[in-house]
Structure formats: C-alpha cells, structure tokens
Symmetry: C2
Subunit: 254 residues, 2 copies
Amino acid sequence: MAFHNSVVIITGTNRGYGVHLSETVAAKLSGDSLLILTARNKDGLEKTKNKIEALINGNNFKVLSVMCDLSKQDKVSGFIAKCLENIDLSKFSTAMFINNAGTLGDVNIKLKDQNNANLLNGYFQFNVINVMMLNSAFLKSFAAKKCFLINISSLAAIQPFSTMGLYCTGKAARDMMFKVLAVENPELRVLNWSPGPMITGMTNTMRGCCDETVATMFKNFDYVPLEVSAAKLMAILEKNEFKSGDHIDYFDEF
Amino acid sequence: MAFHNSVVIITGTNRGYGVHLSETVAAKLSGDSLLILTARNKDGLEKTKNKIEALINGNNFKVLSVMCDLSKQDKVSGFIAKCLENIDLSKFSTAMFINNAGTLGDVNIKLKDQNNANLLNGYFQFNVINVMMLNSAFLKSFAAKKCFLINISSLAAIQPFSTMGLYCTGKAARDMMFKVLAVENPELRVLNWSPGPMITGMTNTMRGCCDETVATMFKNFDYVPLEVSAAKLMAILEKNEFKSGDHIDYFDEF
C-alpha cells in the first residue's frame, strides 16, 4: 500500500525528527496528496517546506505550511480548521495525523520539586490536553475517511527515568489516550510509535540533566539515525498490520 | 511491622473506598499516631471522623479532619501545611500519604468528542497536576522521615476502556508519576495500588455509561468488598516487600 490521494498533517516539523518524518512521508505520497507541515518556528518550518518541495519536484501533490503555537489553547481549537482552509477534502481517501510536537520539561527539577502550578498546567496542556483536542478536531474533519492517528511516543511512556518526570508522565498519558481512541473507534488505525534514541534537541538536553547516571546513559546511547527511525515507522504504516492502539518501539521485532 | 508513631494523610475520605481505607488504617496505627482525613464534603468527612473515633476508643492516637477541595489549585498549594498546622512533627517516625481522591469524568462523552478546554484542564489539574503538587509538599514536610506514598490506581491505568478516556489517561499519568518518584527517591516506599472492582459511586456511574458493552461489564463484575480490598492494601504495606514504584493489583499474587 502506498499513501495515494492522502492528506497528512505533521506537527513539530521545524527541526529534528519532525523534518525527517516530513521527508519520509513525502516520499511515500502519491496522486492528489497533500502534506501539511506545522510548527511554531516560522524559519524552521519554511526551511522544511522548501526541502520537501525540492524533494517532490514534479510530483502532483502539494505541501502546505501552517504556523501555529500548539502550546496556546486558544490557537488549538481552530488549528485543524486553519490547516484545512480552502481545501476540498472530497478528493482524499485517507487522512493521517502525526502528533510529533512535544516538550521535554525542565530536566534540572526532579518531580518532588515540581510545584509551580502555571508551569505544570502549561506542560500538560501542550503535551496532553491540547493533543486530545487536536485529535478530536481532526477526527471530526475526516469522519468519513480512513484515518491514521500516530502518536510519537517514547520509551519514557512505559519506563520511568530520573529527571524526566514530566516527560514520562505526559508520554504515559498520551499513550493511554491513543489506546482509548483505538478501542472506542475500531475503524481507526492508531499507533503509539516509540522512535528509539535519536540525536535531537531533547537528547542533547538530557546529556546535561541533573542526574549523572541518566546524563551518562544519554551520552553513551547507540543512537538511531533520524531517517532510519522515520523509515521504519513508514514501513510499519505501509504494511498496516499492527494492532490499533499498540505501543511499538523501534527495537521491537516487526 | 505495625504503623507506630505514624502520621497518615488520606484524601477523599467522605465516602466509598476512602472511608474503608480510613477504618483499616486506623486499626493498624499505634503509639502517638495521627490520622488526617480530608475531603471536600463536610458532612461525609465528619461522619467518617466520628466512625473512626468510635473505633479507636481509648487508643492514644488522634484523628483530624481537614476540609479541602483539591480540585482548586489555589487551595492545593497550602493544603499540606494546613493539615499539619500546630502539629509537632518530631514525634513521628513514619509518614504516609494515601492519594485516594479522584474523579471519573463524564462517561457519556467518548474521547473523540472531548474538546472542552476548561473541562479538560480541570480534569487533569485535579487528577494529575494537583497530585504532583501535593506529593511535593508532603515530601518537603517529612524530608527526614520514612515516607510511604500510595497512589490509588486502577486497572484503567494499564488497560484502555471505552467511555473512560479521561479516567484511563489520568490514571496512566498518575501511575507513571509515582514510578518516577520511586526511581528519583530510592529511600521512599511508593506503591500504585489497583484496588479491584468495588461498588462505589464511580462503578455505579459506569453501569450507566454510553457504551453498552462496558456498562454490562460493570453490571456483571464479581465485586470485591471495599473492606477486603483495603485490608489487602494494608497487609502489603505492613509486609513492606513490594518493589517501590510497582503497580500492584488486588488480584495479583502477593
């Protein structure tokens, strides 16, 4: 299966894994497809868009960039509608939403010292609540289509790590959210994708976290190249044999 | 081991499992112990307090009730201090915090229709963020004591159920939060306790949820008596051989 006449929205495409996801998805789209790239950083977003446009040179499908700060709840509610403005949805047979955007939290504060209500509210809004609202809006827009919902998860969703309390808690919540979406909507294809350890802004930050053991672990990881991880995700989606709602790790046999 | 010279705080003690937890804990306390009952419903809270005082008639330890609405973030920050007002902490050798309070969410809205930012913010504040802040404050107050942190969890923390999207997501987040607290603080004794299916306000609500299969499941459960579940938790805590941070279910061999 290729992604023919498909619309794909990817969040957090200004850098890191989001860029490689965008490139890998673009290479798999065919027909009257549309790739919508989103991020809050305008320069990074436009750079990714230019890269993709060069990559698909001559192909029929289109790339759009929509700038949006998904940490802002007043922006989130209208975001999907903004992405799909002036777009004729009738030509798409498949719709995919890759929830890649997310934040690490402050890795110099351990969980027992996390007591700033505003910071905590902001963290869970961006990484959990707003994701719930975005997927709700996405499913409303594409009610009659074959829909894929992809959550970019982490090993941290299922294993606790020191100094990563907010990240672990948020990722565990997100995994469960997508599992429930899968059981409530058997017609959907839902995947919690744990992409493996990759060299990104997040893992660079972890190398300097306040727990020496964890910092050393991140210094010594056998990192997976970003494009290799993205290619494995696309291969799993193309094969389309995963159990909807599953958490699949890069290192799992599949 | 008995809980001698211990201070125990339990949230959500106005009804249901919280009442039985309070009774079971009270029966295990000895010496100069203090049991602090908390809830947002005054009448229920005082009823529980009277019950416990009758139960411990003649014993040396004290029972306090502290009314507080833990859904309100401005109340949460000062809650632990309010509980411990005018109390000489030096006499306690052990401190335990049983995080029992929680809400089910609206079981007539499936996750794909959850898009009300205010309701979602309120849900995650009460069930996740405020719990994080409370445990932070608790650990600050009892820094030099042997501390037990108990999270009243659920099978829903590890298994998705239709119509229980908020509950599942919140419980998954809470479980991970306590797992991280355990790895970051090896001196703590942390337990995610899944108490089994019990007849409570929550399970009564579930019998009328909008998914017929799930409603029927809740109608046909072989329910565990509240006091039996509470006794098993106390037996596990007394034995004190669990791995800190573990999720233990009522039906697990232990």
